[in-house]
Subunit: 690 residues, 2 copies
């Protein structure tokens, strides 16, 4: 599953070949303003044009929960993955009604309910603001580089969107600081849940089958955009088709890949390999173990932990794949060759060499500072992992401190243009499970003490004489921040209210704040500033060497990738491109996670067993692309991307068209299931017109 | 804590310099038949002789539970660490009486109770059998090399000890196959618990302080050797001293370091770094998380999970340190230089070169086979992690299958000389906690499916249509193997009884056995055979280049290391060599793991606050050395080694005398505490004669 967040079958076989700098066939997550139309038309015998691009762009949706989606009806209906809406499904559930387990099925629009914290965004325009940002940072270094850049980005956003509550402006850094573009979005902050299947259906095969193929998942969800309490009018939607995709059919994935590191230097990749990923994985594994045991304690514990555990396990597998890709000596050697080639091109051009200098050396030097600062930055400023209450408290404290400053001088996440989404996510009502909160907070505190030692000054300030578990219990039990009204009062009350608050979670954040700001400053000064300033020069070197035949690393902004429906062959085994419903029934064992939901057992004789269920394409995607429409050359939607195969896990660092595959749930399966299994005739009619 | 088992403050600062091949000052875990007496006497101005060596050897004890110890009275009293007897303390506890929490204090010998599964062994003699073993393997390769070697080792043991139930013979492979020595031990299979402090006292500071210093732990335990129901007569004991050690006092650690990898080739270290350790750590972290949550579920869960959780956390920290040592580029580069130097010496001697060939290349080649086979070998043949019931079942099944064969043709762990200990450990009565068993078994099954995928043939055979959790629940609930009588019946009944058994754990092992044997065969043929055969040639190259001024890697056999009482300085901070009782009271917070046991709170005004509590020495040790006597040049015991400092975690791969330290609990502290806190006057009299 590949949603973004800090998010995304283990098999140590991650094989990643490397593009030379210009992209190979089917490689690339291209921006809409630099899509290689001519190359694609030539390769696939198509006649795609700007109009086609505009049409697909206008129907492509970004969900602030870390996913992608598409408009599929004229009444604001949006098609995405189940795992992109499961948090909403969980939030709408209670100990009385478990929609995660049972599915969320609406019969009328009145039953559609708002998803807390979710905002949908559709890209309207892209404007180049590179000059403004680079102008602001010229000659600066360290933290002042970071602050000047962040200030210029915030100012450009403010200039682009100020005063229009219906839009959101966001400056996207592309090519690791080589370009800055202002993305202007139409935003929808009332997004309502329309349909979600049972968890057992959407995630059939569970963690064991995740990132594997063949797959048999109905990983679909529908939400609807609302404006002023009514369904949005969206004539620009894609065309839903109920037929199966054809083998070899050209496919385009339009969505928001979250993060890739393909343009990172070798020294940065080594740091990821030797420090960042291992530490993250060790902590994630332990939390996974705690949540597994937690969820075994009873049905209610299982209910509340289902989505969090899915998230942790999904991330675990993503980083497992990344770690083993980076541990592959051949892969790293290829990266070294690639870097040496670029350096040689720079060295061969005296003027360029004088301009570029040695950013690779500068970045390598910053890696030592990275290693020295990372654990404290991660634990002290990074926040309390998955705790909602701590996150609420941190947002309240920081926003109160920052809102008094001019926008461009604030911590960037509190710049004026970013406040509306912060406020929505803070104030929307969401259930908060106290037992889970205590687990998260205790876990974070205990890992912070473990990794920084009990003698670290910041740890002593955090814990005082309490144990991590004791403090977590006390702070969670006595915090009022689970109540949206309490949060609103503190948000509205500003700094005075915060400082007067006796809420233990607010007090915990306040106590930690000086150390957290200090460690952030050290990080920006010693690590982020030098790295980002040097990365701009690496980007300039790449443009000089390869022109615009390169695509930027993923940044959770709209991209288009191209490819076709095709299976693959690995170590002599050919994997076909599609699965069908018959295969689902064959794989079922009756034991979790291979257990069929009751509706599917009941519908066995009604569904067409040869319906194409999931299929794979050669498109180049990554976490964040979840829910992306997979469209053909007629802008018909064939499915929603929901996963990559196991080989694609190395895709964070490189793409191998021979074996990297996008896994898609077909609209053919969605139509058949909505009709025959779920009896959602109104929804089918809205999608198909029939 | 550094006991051996597959076992052992996280701080990413592992700094390991490397010995050139001949050992540097204070480096080395020397065998008693090759201790550098002259060098040590010269360096420290001493006059140690063979008589001194014989005396210390005769008082050094190996515990089969993975620890070391020493004789400290003429009546079989043995001094070791608390964490070396805590499993026994746990086994003697029940839901009615928690000796782990409260301590185990005997007033009379009648209260001393037998520790299940524990055997004590004292080394009597060492005989060189290298020629016999190398003769048997000459010209062999792959699995036949492994079988010939193991058969020759078993035959030498049988020849050395057959018919004498009071001794145990064990052939130790030294220098990774460069030498084979027959170690003959006097064995004591009735070992009784005499004294253990409270867990909170023995492990004050808990996991956060583990492998750190300053420390304040009374990590001591006493057991007594019995023969024919009476305390053993042991006139060769060491002299107990109640005074504190002197700064700079020469110290000798006599014990059984478990395992080091200092003689491994670079390609082997890379495999450890990139595969073996990461996979182990990720699984260990998850199990840690499950056990933490398990122990939070109630007091009884906490009681039964205390020792297992300690074990998992201890191992986690050991391997964390190892992983970051191996991730250190400077460290690996130094290893490469060292290897190149040895290769150059070989290449410079035509005759030697012809004899040695290229074992480094052979081992590097075997690493690919290692990577291909490792996960299946680990999960399918490695066994079900911590499950006692599965271990019992596996021992019963394999022993029944193997005992019908001639000793030299059996799997080596079932050779005739190894059966007595197998039988003791199988049949001794031990409490088995069903909830923990279910956790362990379910964890192993789920990780096996995750790492091998649900489509692996062995996984399908294991699980059938059941889920890992469902199968674990059923097998644990219905197994009778927790009952020693049931185990005895199956042991005595042999293969016929095993095959007729309806015990689900026996059936699970039987079902898995063909795949497990196949994967073991592949491992021995493709990985172990080629590696071990080549390692013999690396050892020959080292002997040729450096003579016997090298020491072998640790193998949980008796070794002697030398050094002195000394603190260290790291990054400008000087760490003193000792702590005292006053520091303990200062560090206490009242919250776990910094909570004092009630007896210590009560005794605050009685104990001498300046009593030296823990101290550090420059001795070179590793896990398995736990409980080792730290003696001076007069064979007086100054303390028991119980830990290494954080820098010593890289000690698996190299020793750095500037910062690697052994952490010791002083006999001065033990005497004062036994007297003033615990009122054990009889024990104090036995130790001190007063």
């Amino acid at each position: 599953m590949i949603r973004s967040r800090p998010f995304a079958g283990v098999a140590i076989a991650a094989s990643v070949t490397l593009s030379a700098a210009p992209a190979l066939a089917d490689e690339g997550m291209w921006t809409y303003d630099n899509f290689p139309l001519a190359k694609v038309n030539s390769a696939y015998g198509l006649k795609l044009d700007q109009k086609w691009l505009d049409r697909v762009q206008a129907a492509s949706v970004r969900l602030t929960t870390g996913c992608s989606a598409s408009l599929v009806s004229k009444s604001g209906l949006v098609f995405t993955n189940h795992h992109c809406v499961v948090e909403c499904v969980q939030d709408l559930s209670s100990d009385k009604r478990d929609f995660v387990k049972d599915g969320y099925l609406t019969a009328t629009r009145e039953e559609e309910r708002t998803c807390p914290g979710m905002q949908a965004e559709i890209l309207m325009s892209i404007t180049d603001v590179t000059k403004d940002v680079l102008g602001a940072t010229a000659g600066k270094s360290g933290q002042s580089f970071v602050q000047a850049r962040d200030g210029a980005m915030a100012a450009a956003e403010q200039a682009g969107c100020a005063g229009d509550g219906a839009v959101r402006c966001q400056v996207i850094s592309l090519y690791r600081g080589g370009q800055y573009k202002l993305y202007k979005y139409r935003k929808y902050s009332d997004v309502r849940l329309v349909f979600a299947p049972e968890f057992a259906t959407a995630f059939f095969g569970g963690d064991p089958d995740n990132f594997n193929f063949p797959r048999y998942n109905l990983d679909i969800g529908f939400v609807r955009l609302y404006e002023n309490g009514k369904p949005a009018v969206t004539p620009q939607h894609l065309t839903w088709v109920s037929r199966a995709p054809h083998e070899g059919e050209p496919t385009f994935v339009s969505g928001n890949p979250g993060s890739t590191n393909r343009l990172m230097t070798v020294s940065q990749l080594e740091t990821l390999r030797d420090l960042t990923i291992p530490v993250g994985q060790l902590q994630r594994s332990e939390l996974r173990g705690r949540l597994i045991r937690f969820s075994e304690e009873g049905p209610e514990q299982k209910r509340v932990a289902t989505d969090p555990l899915f998230g942790v396990e999904n991330s675990f597998k993503v980083y497992f794949g990344q770690q083993f890709a980076l541990n592959d000596k051949a892969f790293m050697d290829a990266k070294r060759v690639q870097e040496a080639e670029l350096k040689a091109k720079v060295a061969g051009d005296a003027k360029l060499a004088a301009d570029i200098g040695d950013p690779w050396g500068d970045i390598a030097k910053a890696q030592q500072a990275y290693a020295n600062n990372y654990l404290r930055y991660r634990q002290i400023e990074g926040g309390a992992g998955y705790s909602k209450l701590y996150d609420y408290a941190k947002t309240l404290v920081r926003a109160a401190q920052e809102r008094g400053k001019p926008s461009a001088e604030r911590l960037p996440e509190y710049a004026e243009t970013r406040l509306p989404l912060q406020e929505k996510q803070l104030l929307d009502a969401k259930p908060v499970d106290m037992a889970l909160e205590e687990t998260y907070l205790g876990f974070w505190l205990s890992k912070t003490r473990e990794y920084l030692t009990p003698d670290d000054a910041a740890v002593k300030t955090l814990l005082g004489k309490e144990s991590p578990e004791g403090l977590a219990k006390r702070a969670v039990a006595n915090s009022k921040l689970g109540d949206p009204a309490a949060r609103k009062a503190l948000w509205d009350g500003g700094l005075a209210a915060i400082q007067a608050s006796d809420d233990p979670m607010i007090q915990l954040v306040l106590r930690n704040d000086p150390a957290a700001r200090a460690v952030r400053k050290a990080w920006e000064t010693e690590v982020q500033g030098p790295t980002d300033a040097a990365a701009e020069r690496v980007a300039r070197a790449k443009f000089a060497a390869y022109g615009d035949a390169v695509y930027p690393d993923a940044t959770f902004s709209l991209r288009l990738s191209y490819g076709k429906v095709a299976g693959w062959t690995y170590r002599g085994t050919a994997v076909p491109s599609t699965t069908n419903f018959a295969g689902l029934y064959e794989r079922a064992t009756g034991a979790e996670p291979y257990e069929l939901a009751p509706r599917w057992i009941a519908a066995k004789d009604k569904v067409n067993p040869s319906t194409v269920y999931n299929f794979v394409t050669t498109n180049d995607i990554i976490g964040g692309n979840s829910g992306s429409p997979v469209v053909n050359a007629r802008a018909e939607v064939l499915g929603a991307a929901f996963d990559g195969n196991i080989h694609s896990l190395g895709g964070a660092f490189g793409y191998d068209g021979a074996i990297n595959r996008t896994v898609v749930v077909a609209t053919s399966a969605a139509t058949e299931a909505l009709d025959k299994v779920y009896g959602r005739t109104a929804l089918v009619k809205e999608l198909t017109g029939k």
